[in-house]
Homo-oligomer: 250 residues x 2
DNA sequence: AATTATAACTTGTATATACAACTAAAATAG
DNA sequence: CTATTTTAGTTGTATATACAAGTTATAATT
């Protein structure tokens, strides 16, 4: 029976040296001792200070640079980076994940699944020719609370490039979400999103069971695989029932 | 006069070896030769294949792991990571940046700047006590195209924690944006956002010069510095004039 | 047959070394 | 004083080596 480190519960865990150096540097910055743009010790200085080799000190500086904490320029030195204060990032998840993250139950109802001729707008968005056939699906997503209250939370209108996903029509989108299916068929490599507020059209109002002209959040999503644009989706949700939340450190 | 590498324009630029290995690995993955979860060559195998030392091969694998392309487990090996298909990130920028990124001109009009007593909701959001004084500002942001057409694009309603930014009242928010001022006074470390679609209230409709009940995008933003919650802002924009765009690779 | 131990392989940490490439300040030559 | 060269310091790339630590399949033992 071998003894593994994990078995020795009371063992004093010592962080690797390069981690210790990283922590030291972060402390200096967080405490304000090292201001933005100020020079931090060189690899050799850190190596001596911590009695490690230059390569170990280097690794600490390197990783903090990749994390955006430091900035390095060859020949000049290493400096504390400026904080990215201009932008933050908002996470956009698919509706099924969003709902299950709230411990609610998601289910979907397939309304339409058919073949259309691409309009000019759709053709451009999918990078195909006008008049080419495209797959078009409409799916209603419902959220059911644990109390059993169920409401329509999102209408998905999706155009799919048939060249990249030929079997899309055979799917039952009440069972598998488009996102799941497309991900499995053509690994998504990229996506763009646009978010705007729109007033509910008669069709949307009817499907989502809301009043006409009620404000809705509309997300337009284009997804790419390595072979091209896979699909273009318009996701419309009632403004009072759906909300995008984001939290990220600068 | 020294000759520097940069001077030799016609010099054949050779990428460092670890970069070449990274590129090779990425190619294999992008072309589909190496599928998700499949094992990639070990450090030693790559080292032999490219006639480099193990440390060099290691660096390629290491950096791709940090970038999320590969996954490594000690003792087992290195594997192609699953694509993060569940979430994407949307960048939220402040309105002034957004407008100037479109090569349009931003200007702001300060409508209100005063002291209020914190309501219960505001007190909770700013992490202060109900009834404590808070600074409250209303600022209208205008976008002017290069043709000289100007329209109100966002109403900013902002509550500021006076303990962290005592001189906020002395500012002229037509000149400096709240974001600029707050960033300079208390470096922002973190922010949360919520986005929803709302119908224009009479007040909002009047200020933004839109119709009552018109759909608007509303962003609620809370910003932190290291000392606590700095401010809570409600940013309301007409749905047809403002749009959030995001683009990020998975 | 099931368990245990071994061995082979993998990644992780750390060091020592060498040289290349770049920067900025000091020394030098005009 | 100015322009140039040198020099010292810094980061970047690359190698060779050693051992630690975790995984997995195989071999040995019970």
């Amino acid at each position: 029976m071998y003894i593994q480190v994990n078995d020795l519960v009371c063992m004093v865990m010592v962080a690797p040296k390069f981690i210790q150096i990283k922590q030291y540097i972060c402390q200096q910055i967080e405490s304000g001792k090292w201001q933005q743009h100020s020079k931090v010790p060189s690899e050799n200085e850190l190596a001596e200070q911590f009695s490690v080799s230059r390569m170990t000190a280097r690794r600490a500086l390197q990783e903090l640079t990749e994390q955006g904490v430091l900035v390095r320029t060859q020949g000049a030195g290493t400096f504390v980076a400026t904080f990215k204060s201009q932008s933050s990032l908002l996470e956009i998840r698919n509706i099924a994940d969003e709902i299950s993250a709230r411990n609610h139950i998601h289910h979907a109802k397939q309304i339409t699944l058919s073949v259309l001729q691409a309009s000019e707008e759709i053709a451009i968005l999918l990078n195909i020719n006008k008049g080419d056939k495209v797959f078009y699906a409409e799916v209603l997503h419902y959220e059911t609370t644990q109390l059993g209250i169920s409401e329509a939370i999102q209408l998905e209108q999706r155009y799919v490039n048939p060249k990249l996903v030929p079997e899309y029509l055979q799917q039952d989108l009440s069972v598998i979400t488009s996102h799941e299916y497309l991900s499995s068929k053509a690994p998504l490599t990229e996506a763009t999103h646009e978010i705007e507020a729109v007033a509910a059209s008669p069709k949307i109002a009817k499907l989502l069971a809301i009043f006409l002209q009620q404000p809705c959040l509309q997300i337009k999503r284009r997804t790419w695989s390595s072979k091209g644009v896979v699909s273009f989706a318009i996701l419309t949700s009632p403004g009072d029932k759906y909300r995008l939340g984001g939290h990220l450190t600068f």
